[in-house]
């Protein structure tokens, strides 16, 4: 897609660590999207151009603006910090892609949403879309009071029958096994949140004999930093350094090597690349163990040891 330039028209502080941004197109029309979509936003920080994926929280029927909610990450690689400390109303930013890797299953008769913290974002657009279609859903939202409980109040007012909150305040714990065991075959489950939540849901679903297609995942986390290492590209005969805070994908892009990508978070499989290395820290949600012998995902995978060199077929 061509880059779309958007202007920040509104910023709201939702919790002490979560900010909501409204973005309107400066010239062209807004590209329409389906609920669950994310945009890739370019952030020109002082050190480098960061490309981060943010789920849209706006109503797919609202053609005037995109809205996103960004949590300030404690170990920010620069993106969320930039959004919180530098971006102001009136600023113009570039959106380089909009895609949906977390769409509602059209054949499901009931949608069960499980959100952990800022993982609530894609469900906001799903719920808005389901209001239009009168679709059946329930939301299970685990959050921390006053920190990661974005939209808690408005959700519990608007959807009091459908929303279950799990926090210190409600003194309730999300029991995933009970929740999944209670579902019949018309339900599909969607989970967005921290790694351990996603893992727990997928493991329990598997142990209950569920099809993989019944569970839909969105890992919203930006790639984790790690040790610095090198990659050697066997086809283009290049050796590129990957610093601690960059992913392989970002290091390649900085050197002008383009790899097709969509999610930049290890879930969609677009950037899957052949490798010839023994020790890889894969970190993705896409490849199975056999596939990992041959492929890695440059958007999240790294070397395990400092100074190691990974050989890629690029």
């Amino acid at each position: 897609m061509n880059t779309l330039s958007v202007q920040v028209t509104d910023i709201r502080q939702i919790t002490p660590v979560i900010r909501e941004f409204s973005l309107s197109p400066t010239e062209a029309q807004l590209r329409s999207f389906s609920s669950g979509s994310h945009i890739i936003l370019q952030l020109p920080t002082q050190e480098r151009l960061i490309k981060n994926a943010y789920s849209l929280i706006s109503d797919p029927f609202d053609r005037h603006q995109y809205q996103i909610a960004v949590r300030l990450q404690e170990h920010s690689r620069g993106g969320s910090k930039y959004m919180h400390e530098h971006v102001a109303v009136g600023d113009v930013l570039n959106v380089t892609a909009i895609s949906n890797l977390f769409a509602l299953n059209s054949r499901a008769r009931h949608h069960v949403f499980i959100a952990g913290g800022i993982g609530i974002t894609p469900f906001i657009s799903h719920m808005k879309a389901l209001l239009h279609s009168s679709g059946s859903f329930e939301l299970h939202y685990a959050c921390r009071d006053g920190i990661s409980n974005a939209y808690e109040d408005v959700l519990s007012v608007l959807f009091s029958d459908q929303v279950q909150l799990y926090s210190e305040k409600t003194k309730r714990r999300l029991e995933i096994k009970n929740l999944l065991s209670a579902q019949d075959t018309n339900s599909h489950v969607y989970v967005c949140g921290p790694e351990r939540l996603i893992q727990e849901v997928t493991e329990i679903a598997q142990s209950l004999g569920w099809s993989k297609n019944r569970v839909h995942l969105e890992a919203f986390a930006a790639p984790k930093p790690g040790v610095a290492f090198d990659v050697e590209l066997s086809q283009s005969q290049k050796r590129i350094h990957v610093p601690e805070h960059l992913s392989i994908l970002e290091a390649l892009e900085a050197e002008g090597v383009d790899v097709p990508n969509l999610c930049r978070g290890g879930v969609c499989g677009q950037c899957m690349t052949k490798h010839h290395s023994i020790e890889v820290d894969h970190q993705d949600h896409f490849l199975d163990q056999d596939e990992q012998q041959q492929y890695l995902m440059p958007c999240v995978s790294r070397a395990k040891k400092v100074g190691q060199c990974l050989n890629l077929e690029l």
């Binding site: 008769r109 075959t185 019944r214």
Partner: protein, 181 residues
């Protein structure tokens, strides 16, 4: 006369499990079986242990398949997601049950298909792409549509929704092969 080459299986060509390949890792199973005296059904119950299985048997000369599906449907609707279903019978039986399960949200890997080779002569369910008539045939490659009388070639192209192989006018195939480019 041009002789047709052996058709290759397509991605839509259904594949079935042998009884021994049905995974034994689930806590319980629901079996939809076409006939009670079939060797495959007995083998399947032994393979999974009878205690872990609930059986819905079709064979009953007084009932139609529609009645059978309607009754099983009542049970199916109350099941928790993850209940593993095994359909054991002829191809025509398998796909009629499969279609009923699909409407209730059963997904791939939650349903195992065992083609029962021990039941009589295997019939193929075929769909005439010209007049939409569905019929069962014992033929393997060609058949005549009972509704529009066309001579049809049975493709490996299979529709899970219809539970049938596509039958297309045989001369279309011949013409394609006869034209020099």
């Amino acid at each position: 006369m041009v002789t047709l080459l052996m058709q290759e299986a397509m991605s839509s060509t259904p594949s079935y499990l042998a009884v021994a390949d049905v995974l034994q890792d689930k806590s319980h199973y629901v079996i939809f079986a076409e006939k009670d005296d079939s060797c495959d059904l007995l083998a399947l119950q032994t393979h999974l242990s009878i205690a872990k299985t609930k059986l819905f048997l079709f064979f009953n000369p007084d009932h139609s398949i529609a009645d059978y599906l309607e009754q099983s449907e009542k049970f199916i609707q109350k099941q928790a997601a993850g209940t593993h279903i095994i359909i054991c019978g002829t191809e025509s039986f398998i796909w009629q049950v499969h279609a009923m399960l699909a409407t209730h949200g059963y997904l791939e890997h939650e349903v195992s298909l065992v083609l029962d080779q021990t039941i009589g002569h295997p019939l193929k369910r075929v769909y005439c792409v010209h007049c939409s008539h569905i019929q069962d045939t014992s033929e393997q490659d060609y058949y005549e549509c009972k509704q529009c009388s066309l001579h049809l070639f049975i493709r490996t192209h299979f529709s899970e929704r219809l539970g049938a192989y596509m039958g297309v006018f045989e001369h279309v195939q011949h013409q394609n092969r006869g034209v020099a480019v």
